[in-house]
C-alpha cells in the first residue's frame, strides 16, 4: 500500500502578541489508501490546525512550512489557491464537530445536498438531470442511514438533531466520492448511541469504497477498532505513531501510557481510587516549554528532554522520546 497523503515535518507558526509561536512543530503523518488513521490529541494540540492545513483553510497570518506536504503526486504547498481548491474539492472532504453550524441555516437540506453532487456525474438533459440529482441525493441519504429521506430533504438544519445533521453532512461529504475524508471530532456533542452509529457508518464507508479517513479525536476511548493506525499529538508535537493495536497494548511513549492509564483501558484501576493523571496542565501558547513539550509534566523526564527527541522507529511503530518505556536499540 502506498501513502496517498505524505506529510513530513509540517510546522505552522502563528504571529501572536508574545511573538511567533509554533503551534505545530515538525509533525509528520502518512496515510495509506483505504486506511483509517486516528489522530489523538487534547485540546490545543493543533490537531484541527493540521486538518485545516491539509484542506487548505488557511489563514493568511499563518506561516506554513514543511519538508513535504504531498497529496498523491501533488505538492500541495506549491500549488496556487485555485488549483489547490480544485484538487481538495475533488479528492477530499471534511466533516466537523458541530454539524449544525456547517450547514446553511436558510436553505433546505435537499437543495444543499443536491448542489454537492457533481454535474459531471449526471446524464441527460436539463430536466432529466434535475430528476437524477434528486434520486442520487435520496440514495446518498439512504446510504448514511437516514430512512425518511424525503422529510429530511424538506427540512432546515435547525429542525434536525445533531446526529441527523451529522449524517447529512457525511452524505454531502461523500457525494463526490472523495479519496480522503477528514473527520474532525465528528461525535463530540453526541450521545453514545448516535456516536456509535456515526463511527460504524464511517468504518463501513472506508471498507466499501476504499476511502481513507483521518479521524481526529480527543481521547483514546473514541478510537474505533477499525482504525488501522493512530498518532498521538501533544502541543503540536508528534509523540507516537504506529499500528493502533501496538500502541494500545505496548506503548513506547510515556504520554501514550498516561493517556491509557486515565482511560477505561486501565483494567488495574482499583475502584474508588484516584484516576492517575499527568501532573500540571496543558501549557498556554505563549509558554511552550523548549525541547520535548511534554517535559515538565512527564514522569520520566530528565535533563536530556530539553532537546527535542528525534523519531525512533521500531518496525511500523515510531515515537519521539529519549526515555521510552520499553528499552530499544536506537539507531543513532
Amino acid at each position: 500500500m502506498s501513502n496517498i497523503l505524505d506529510i513530513r515535518n509540517l510546522t505552522i507558526e502563528l504571529e501572536t502578541s508574545a511573538g511567533t509561536v509554533k503551534v505545530l512543530d515538525k509533525l509528520s503523518l502518512q496515510l495509506a489508501e483505504g486506511e483509517i488513521h486516528t489522530l489523538v490529541g487534547e485540546s490545543g494540540s493543533g490537531k484541527s490546525l493540521l486538518a485545516k492545513a491539509i484542506m487548505g483553510f488557511i489563514n493568511p497570518r499563518w506561516k506554513i512550512t514543511a519538508d513535504r506536504l504531498w497529496w498523491r503526486h501533488y505538492d500541495l504547498l506549491a500549488l496556487n489557491p485555485v488549483q489547490r481548491r480544485m484538487i481538495t474539492g475533488r479528492d477530499m472532504a471534511m466533516i466537523f464537530q458541530n454539524p449544525g453550524s456547517y450547514l446553511d441555516p436558510n436553505t433546505k437540506l435537499g437543495n444543499q445536498l443536491r448542489e454537492t453532487i457533481p454535474q459531471s456525474e449526471l446524464k441527460g438533459i436539463y430536466l432529466r438531470r434535475k430528476a437524477n440529482r434528486t434520486v442520487r441525493a435520496e440514495r446518498l441519504l439512504h446510504r448514511v442511514g437516514i430512512k425518511d429521506a424525503e422529510k429530511v430533504m424538506n427540512s432546515y438544519p435547525h429542525q434536525l438533531s445533531e446526529g441527523v445533521a451529522q449524517k447529512v453532512s457525511i452524505a454531502m461529504a461523500i457525494a463526490h466520492n472523495p479519496k480522503l475524508l477528514i473527520a474532525d471530532e465528528p461525535t463530540t456533542a453526541m450521545e453514545p448511541n448516535t456516536r456509535n452509529q456515526i463511527y460504524r457508518l464511517l468504518a463501513k464507508l472506508s471498507a466499501s469504497q476504499g476511502m481513507s479517513i483521518l479521524m481526529i479525536t480527543q481521547d483514546l476511548t473514541s478510537v474505533i477498532p477499525e482504525s488501522q493506525r493512530m498518532s498521538l499529538v501533544y502541543c503540536g508535537q508528534l509523540m507516537e505513531t504506529g499500528p493502533t493495536e501496538k500502541i494500545m497494548t505496548e506503548p513506547f511513549h510515556p504520554y501514550t501510557d498516561a493517556m491509557l492509564q486515565m482511560s477505561f483501558f486501565n483494567k488495574e484501576l482499583v475502584p474508588k481510587t484516584r484516576l492517575p493523571t499527568l501532573t500540571g496542565a496543558i501549557p498556554t501558547l505563549q509558554h511552550m516549554p523548549i525541547g520535548c513539550r511534554l517535559g515538565p509534566r512527564c514522569p520520566k523526564s530528565r535533563r536530556a528532554c530539553i532537546h527535542q527527541p528525534r523519531l525512533s522507529k521500531v518496525k511500523q511503530h515510531q515515537f519521539a522520546c529519549h526515555f521510552p518505556l520499553i528499552e530499544v536499540e536506537t539507531h543513532d
Binding site: 483553510f57 474539492g89 456547517y102 436558510n106 454537492t116 435547525h158
Partner: protein
C-alpha cells in the same frame, strides 16, 4: 408561522388602536374647541355646529365621544379642512400617491445600487475601491437631507439647468390627477402629449429621488458590506468551499441569501427614516405629497388635516414594519425558532 403572523397582526391592530386614542386626545390638547378641531366645522356656522354636537356625541360622556369619533373615522369621514373646507379623506388619496411614488422610487434606487455596491466593497475588503465606497458613503450619510436637497437644486437646476427647480410636472400638460402618482396618471390620461409629459415628469422626478435615496443607500451599502463579511466568516461557507463548490454558487446560493437577512430587517427601519426625510424633501421641492401638505397644515393650524396626515403616515410606517417582519420570518425560518423560543 401562522401563530407568528397572527401575533404580528394583533400587535398591529393594538398599535393602530393606540394611535387612534392619541389622535383623539390631541383634539382636546390643541388650542380651540375640540369639536372644531375634530371636524373642521366652525363655531360661527351655528346650525351645522349644533348638529355635529349631537352627531359627535358631545352631549354625552368622553367615552361616547370616542366611540362616535371612531365610527366617523372608520366610515371615512375625517372632517373637513379648516382652510379649504374640503373633506380631508378625499384629499388624502392623490397626496398619498405622490408621496409613495417618490418614496418607493427612492427606496428602489437605494436597493438597486446599494446591494451590489455593498457586496462589491465586501469582496474587495480593505482594497482601494472598498475604501473609496465606504468613505463616500460615510460622508454622504453625514449630509443632512435639507442641505443636500438645496445643493442639488443649486447644481442641477440653477447652474446646469438640467432639471426644473421644483414641482411635479409642468401644469401646461394638464394631466388629470387621479392616483397622485404622476407617472401612473400620465399613463391613464388620454392626453396627446403623453410622451412629452412623461419626459417632463421624469425630469422633475430624478433630483428629489436621488436626494431621498442617499440616506437609505449609504445605510444599505454599509449594512450589506458588514453582512457579507460576516457570512463569509461562517462555518457553512468554509464547508461549502471545502466541498469544492464554485465561487459563484457559494455567492449566489449561500452568501447573498444569508447576508440579506439583516438587510431585510433594516429595510423596515430605514422606511421610517425615509418617511421623515420625505416630508422635508417634499417641502423643498414643492412636491404635492402628504409631507408638504402636513407641514403646510401645521403652519395654518389646520387641525383636521394634521390629524388625517398623522394617521396616514403613522399607519403606513406601522404597516410596512409589520410586513417586513413577516417577510423576514417567512424567508428566514431559523429566525422563527428563535422567536418561538422567546
Amino acid at each position: 408561522m401562522f401563530r407568528y403572523s397572527l401575533r404580528r397582526m394583533v400587535l398591529l391592530l393594538v398599535t393602530l388602536w393606540l394611535l387612534t386614542l392619541l389622535i383623539f386626545a390631541l383634539n382636546y390638547w390643541y388650542p380651540g374647541d375640540p369639536l372644531t378641531n375634530m371636524t373642521g366645522i366652525k363655531f360661527s356656522d351655528t346650525l351645522a355646529y349644533q348638529q355635529a354636537l349631537v352627531a359627535r356625541g358631545f352631549d354625552g360622556s368622553l367615552l361616547s365621544q370616542y366611540f362616535s369619533f371612531m365610527a366617523h373615522l372608520l366610515q371615512g369621514d375625517w372632517g373637513a379642512s379648516m382652510v379649504t373646507e374640503q373633506p380631508v379623506f378625499a384629499e388624502i388619496k392623490p397626496l398619498l400617491g405622490a408621496t409613495l411614488e417618490l418614496g418607493l422610487l427612492a427606496m428602489l434606487l437605494a436597493i438597486v445600487l446599494g446591494i451590489p455596491l455593498g457586496v462589491y466593497a465586501a469582496i474587495q475588503q480593505r482594497g482601494k475601491l472598498d475604501r473609496l465606497i465606504m468613505g463616500l458613503s460615510l460622508s454622504a450619510y453625514s449630509i443632512p437631507v435639507f442641505w443636500l436637497a438645496q445643493l442639488f437644486i443649486l447644481l442641477f437646476a440653477v447652474k446646469l439647468g438640467w432639471s426644473p427647480i421644483s414641482g411635479q410636472i409642468d401644469p401646461l400638460y394638464a394631466i388629470d390627477i387621479n392616483t397622485g402618482s404622476i407617472l401612473i396618471d400620465i399613463w391613464l390620461s388620454d392626453s396627446d402629449y403623453r410622451i412629452a409629459a412623461f419626459t417632463d415628469a421624469l425630469n422633475h422626478l430624478w433630483v428629489p429621488v436621488i436626494v431621498l435615496s442617499i440616506m437609505p443607500l449609504t445605510m444599505l451599502i454599509r449594512i450589506m458590506r458588514n453582512a457579507v463579511l460576516d457570512v463569509l466568516q461562517q462555518n457553512f461557507i468554509k464547508a461549502a468551499r471545502a466541498r469544492g463548490l464554485s465561487d459563484s454558487t457559494i455567492m449566489f446560493r449561500h452568501t447573498l441569501p444569508n447576508a440579506m437577512q439583516p438587510v431585510v430587517r433594516q429595510l423596515g427601519l430605514q422606511f421610517s427614516v425615509l418617511m421623515t426625510n420625505i416630508i422635508i424633501t417634499e417641502v423643498i421641492f414643492n412636491w404635492p405629497g402628504l409631507g408638504s401638505w402636513l407641514v403646510k397644515s401645521i403652519y395654518e393650524r389646520d387641525f383636521p388635516v394634521i390629524q388625517g396626515g398623522l394617521l396616514v403616515l403613522a399607519s403606513i410606517i406601522l404597516l410596512v414594519n409589520v410586513m417586513v417582519d413577516l417577510v423576514h420570518a417567512w424567508r428566514y425560518p431559523h429566525i422563527r425558532k428563535e422567536i418561538d423560543a422567546k
